[in-house]
Amino acid sequence: MNTGIESPQGIWWKPAHRAERFWVIVAFAWCLVLFAMMPLWHFKGGQNPSGIRHKVEPEAFMARTQEFINAYQVGEENGIPIVEPPPGSDIYLVGLMWSWRPTLRLKKDAEYILHISSLDVNHGFNLYPINVNFQVVPGYDYGLRVTPTEAGDFRIICNEFCGIGHHLMVGRIVVVDDTQSTASAGGAP
């Protein structure tokens, strides 16, 4: 037997010990489980980062977001428009130094296609306090089919460094339960 700093002499391609062989097989089986879970979750799971993905010019994305805001705006808060789109629609969120526009008012258990992109540098979409995270890359439209499963007042924290004002970049999503009055779950001044 030799240590790791001695040159093995002669032929060292020999059968491994039983215990070592057993561990390699068990570890490999576990690796296959690790792999299988990912395709499996695409079929059985409710959370996948697939989305509808396009390249988009930042100006074009901003124009579409503005069009979206104009169509569904219901108010304004801290200079950020509040938008209440119909369930099932395409909704837009743009990150720019250092804010998220607009504030979204969504309905619980309705599906939306949430398009996220950036006007300038990379930003990070973190839905607080649920802890859902996506990378927001300028030039790319990430269209995620999103179904809010709980009502509440949520924040969008930027979690990709985007310059000196990074820590000021907080947005808002309000999810209202259809059974309640939409005004009571709040947000609009």
Binding site: G4, I5, V121, N126, N131, Y140, I157
Partner: protein, 506 residues
Amino acid sequence: MNGSFRTCPTTGLKVHAQADGLIKANAVVATVTLLIGGIAAVLVMLTRWQAVHLLSAEWFYRMLTIHGMNMLIFFILFFEMAVLYFASAVLLNSRVAAPRLAWGSFGLMVLGTLIVEWTMFAGKADVLFTSYVPLKATPWYYLGVILFAVGALLVVCIFFATLVVARREKTYTGSVPLVTFGAATAAIIAVITLGHGAAIYIPTFLWSLGLMNVDAQVYRLVWWGLGHSSQQINVAAMVSVWYLLGAFTVGAVVLNEKISRAAFVLYVLFISMASAHHLLVDPGMGPTWKVWNTSYAMYLAVLASMIHGFTVPAGVELGQRVRGLTKGLFEWLRKAPWGDPGFSSLIFSVIIFGFVGGITGVTFGTEQINIIAHNTLRIPGHFHATVVAGTALAFMGVTYYVIPLIFRKQIAFWPLAKIQPYLFAVGMLIFSVAMTFAGTFGAPRRHWDMTFSQAPFDVQFSPAVDLVIGVMAVGGLIAAVGGAIYIVVTVWSVFLGRPMPAGSEA
């Protein structure tokens, strides 16, 4: 050439004077950059700890950039250059191929380092370690990184040339030792890594000069070919150091050369997948790309680490058993030399790397689970367990052998050196577990003010997060004490320490 060798009285290895000098120079620069990165680490941590909140926003992000570059690039690569010279020239009794080029490359790396340090401290490169385009730094910053990378690539070439020289001059018989084999895989991965580095930093340099465009998503894709592959250099180098420390401290045997070497080869073959883990919630790539590139269907690099996770401790166990420590299941571990900082570093490095860093890393690197991990504190929690408590701690442990063997000095403040790995390991364990836990609540990484005091909307983190961040800070401070002891002990030993007894110089 023969006149420039000395024979090591401990190992009987012939050490080439140029190898001696190159190892020393690289180790010294590594320690200096570790000190810079370490001071930045403490400042960053004391800012994230909202109760102290030390730095201004500007200096926080600047220090975070300085911390990342010094630790992940300069400290670790200078140390790895030393490991490459050790694993080739010293372990194979060989001369260093092209020593003049080796010193030239070292100079190039130092020059690149100085340029990058200057741009960062001058506030011309507040772009963090990842420098995601279109966040822009001065062209000098990218130029400095390129010079450093070219120097490192040349050292890797010299490593391969030294392997050829040793084989041709028949300085050893049989196959290269496992540690050299592992270092060679690290070197191969380094070529892949530095290739990606050239492919991204050169266009980015031109972009910063206004000469071309760089797509933000393409940047992320290629940059992580550098960013994560470089961590795989660390893994391969660290595992080599594990085998080295096992051999030095308790005469750990290699259970089966075939299995251990095959595992190293898996690192080389399945390395590029690691980069995909950073892009799992990116808009540029589809699910098929993500699933395939995360795993290549079989997670064979994870398998490689799990194999080493068996063979390294089993090598220690068998090494102890064949020397008579055969009682029960764990006499080999109980009666191990726990007072030897080389041994304690080895064990803590294996355990924290595997149990904390490895498990969290593979879990967060799953396509869907990444949704609840990406860019939260879970990510730095993971990689502080791998690269700090794993790689850096293993490198610290091997330093306690390098100083007597290469620098020919006794270790100063020996009692402090003995407890250093304990402080560092316990501190980093608390630190990384607490950080990971805080990230589970969605606490963002790379963030100056988690109270969002000036933000347009209020954000209230649960008090649990404040508590956990406090725990993280305590752990980090313990680790910082351990790191400071390491620097004091090594610097003192090398420059002011007592020489090893006479008669040992050839």
